[in-house]
C-alpha cells in the first residue's frame, strides 16, 4: 500500500516539476553539461595534459574549438575534464555531507531529550566557526589531498542538513503511523529506516540539490586560491584561475570554463527551487 501511495506522490511531483519551465530548462542544461563533460575527454583528439608548444594561445578555431592555453593544451579537453572533476567533487562531497547530516539529525530528533539538546548545541557551536577559514587552513597545511577535499567540504556542509532532518524527524516521530509501528513492536532501527527515512526524502533531495552548487563554489574558491586540484589536472575553478591570469592575452581561457561553471550553478539553483515547489507545494512562494 505504501508503495502505491509514494509512487503517486512522486508522479504528482514530477508533473508539477514538468510544468515549471525554468526548472525543466535547467534540467536539460545540467544533463547537457554532464554529458559533454563525460564524453568530451573521450571524443577529444587531445588529452587534457597534452602540450603543443607550437600552438600556444590559439583562439577558438577548427582544430581547437575552445582554443588553446599558454602550453598549447586544448581548452575543450581541459574544460570537459575539469567538468568531470568539479561535478564529481560536487556530488561526492554532497553525499558525504548528506550521510553525516541525515544520520546525525535523525538520531538527534528520534532520541530527543537531553541527548538531542546537547547534539543540537554542538551544531550551534559549530555554526559559529569560520568554516571556510578552516577548510583553507586544512588544505594549506595538509597538502592538496583529493580525499581531504571531499571530507573537508562535506564536513562543512552537513550542519544545515542535520537541522532540517532533525526538525522533520521530530514531527514524524509523533505521527500516527510511527505510533502504530511502535505498537506493533518494531525495532527502532526498522522504524527509522522503513518509516521515517522514506518521508524525509523530499526535503533531503531539495536540500541536496542546493548543496551541490554550494560545494562546487567552495571547491572553485579553493582551486582559485591554488589549494584545490593541482596542474596538470584541471577543475573549473583552477581553469578560471588560469584564465583570469591570462585574460588580456586570451580571453577565451576565462570565458569557456567560466560559462560552464556559471551555467551549472544557475541550473542547479533553479532546479533546486523547482524541486522545492514540486515536492513541497505548501512552501511555494508568492
Amino acid at each position: 500500500m505504501s508503495v502505491e501511495k509514494s509512487s503517486s506522490l512522486g508522479r504528482d511531483a514530477w508533473l508539477r516539476l514538468r510544468a515549471n519551465r525554468m526548472a525543466m530548462i535547467s534540467l536539460f542544461i545540467l544533463i547537457g553539461i554532464t554529458t559533454v563533460s563525460f564524453i568530451g575527454p573521450l571524443i577529444s583528439p587531445y588529452a587534457y595534459d597534452q602540450q603543443n608548444l607550437d600552438r600556444v594561445f590559439e583562439g577558438p578555431g577548427k582544430d581547437h574549438i575552445f582554443g588553446t592555453d599558454n602550453l598549447g593544451r586544448d581548452l575543450f579537453a581541459r574544460t570537459t575534464y575539469g567538468g568531470r572533476i568539479s561535478l564529481a567533487v560536487g556530488l561526492l562531497a554532497t553525499l558525504v555531507s548528506l550521510v553525516i547530516g541525515v544520520s546525525y539529525g535523525m538520531f538527534s530528533g528520534y532520541t530527543g531529550g537531553r541527548v538531542d539538546a546537547w547534539m543540537m548545541r554542538a551544531v550551534d557551536v559549530l555554526y559559529a566557526l569560520p568554516f571556510t577559514i578552516f577548510v583553507i587552513l586544512l588544505m594549506v597545511m595538509f597538502g592538496r589531498n583529493f580525499l581531504l577535499l571531499f571530507l573537508a567540504i562535506g564536513a562543512v556542509e552537513w550542519l544545515t542538513m542535520a537541522r532540517i532532518t532533525r526538525a522533520q524527524t521530530m514531527n514524524l516521530k509523533r505521527s500516527e503511523f510511527v505510533e502504530a509501528a511502535r505498537a506493533l513492536g518494531y525495532s527502532h532501527g526498522r522504524i527509522l529506516f522503513r518509516h521515517i527515512l522514506p518521508n524525509l526524502i523530499g526535503p533531503i533531495i531539495i536540500y541536496a540539490t542546493l548543496t551541490v552548487p554550494a560545494v562546487m563554489l567552495l571547491e572553485a574558491v579553493l582551486s582559485f586560491l591554488g589549494l584545490g586540484v593541482q596542474a596538470p589536472m584541471s577543475s573549473w575553478g583552477s581553469l578560471i584561475k588560469e584564465g583570469a591570469e591570462k585574460m588580456d592575452a586570451a580571453p577565451w581561457l576565462l570565458f569557456f570554463p567560466g560559462m560552464f561553471f556559471c551555467l551549472s550553478l544557475f541550473a542547479l539553483n533553479f532546479l533546486g527551487d523547482g524541486l522545492r515547489d514540486a515536492l513541497d507545494p505548501k512552501s511555494s512562494k508568492d
Binding site: 566557526l129 569560520p130 577559514i133 578552516f134 583553507i136 586560491l225 585574460m247
Partner: protein, 306 residues
Amino acid sequence: MKKFVFSRVLQAVPTLWVIATLTFFMTRYAPGGPFDTEKAIPQEIKVKLESHFGLDRPLFDQYLLYLKNLLRGDLGPSFKYPGWEVSELIATAFPVSLTLGVLSLSIALLIGIPAGIIAALRKNTWLDYLPMSLSMAGICLPTFVLGPLLIYIFSTQLGLFPPLGWYGPADWVLPSFTLGLFYAAYVARLTRAGMLETLQQDYVRTARAKGANPWQVVTRHALRGGLLPVVTYLGPAFAGLISGSFIIESIFFIPGLGKFFVTAAFNRDYTMVLGTVLFYAALIILLNLLVDLLQAWLDPKARQAQ
C-alpha cells in the same frame, strides 16, 4: 536585554576555546614548521630560533602557555615577521579588509534593497522581471569570474580604474563592486520576498485604508517587516564577506588580512594563523550578536522570545 547580551558573550568563551584548541593542534600536527625554509638554515640557528619561541618544549606545555597568554590578550610574536607582534600585524592589515567589507556591504544594501522594493511594488511587470533576472545572474556569477571580467572591461578596455593595488579611492571601486554585487543580488531577492509578504499584512492594508500616502506605507509600515529576511541574512553574509575578501584580495593584490592569513598558513607562522583565526571567529560572533539585536529591534515577536 542585558541578560541576553551577557549570556551570549559568556557562550562565546567556550566557542573561542574550542577554536583555539582545534587550530593549535591542527597547525602543530601538520607537516612542516616555521623554520623549514627552502634555503636550509644552519642547524644550530634553527635550534636557537626554536628555543627562542619555545617550540622545543613539550607540545602540551606550549598549548597551556598559549592559552595563558591569550587570557591576557597576548597573541604572541609572529614567527615570520621578526620583531612584529601578531596583534600589530592584524591591526595593520585589518583596516584594509574592513574598508573593503564596509564598502561592499554598502553597495549590496544600497543596490539590493531599493531594487527589491521596486520589484515587490511592481510585481510581474518588467520592473520586477529585469532586476530579478539580473540578480539571478549575479548570484550565479562568482566573484572570481566577475572580478577578472570587471578588470577586463573597466581597466584593460576602458582604462577607467586601476586593475590592482590599494593606494587610493580609485583602487577601491572594482574590488568593492566585485564583492558587493553578489550580495546585492541576494539582498534584492530577499527584500522582494519579504516585502511581498508584509504588503499583504493586515496592518499594511489598514494603513492604506486610512489614506496614508503610498510612500509612507512603504517606508513607515511595510519596510520594517519586509527587511527582516535581509537582516537574518546579514549573519551569514558577514561570514561570507570575510571569506570572499580572501578571493578579492588575491585577485586585486590587496594587502588585507585575508592575504596575510593565507601566507601565514603557507609559512607555518603558527601564532599568526592562530591569532587570525581567533580574530575572525570573535568578529563573526560579535557581528552575529549585533544581527540578533537588530532583529529583535525590528521584530516584536523575536524580542519576546529572547
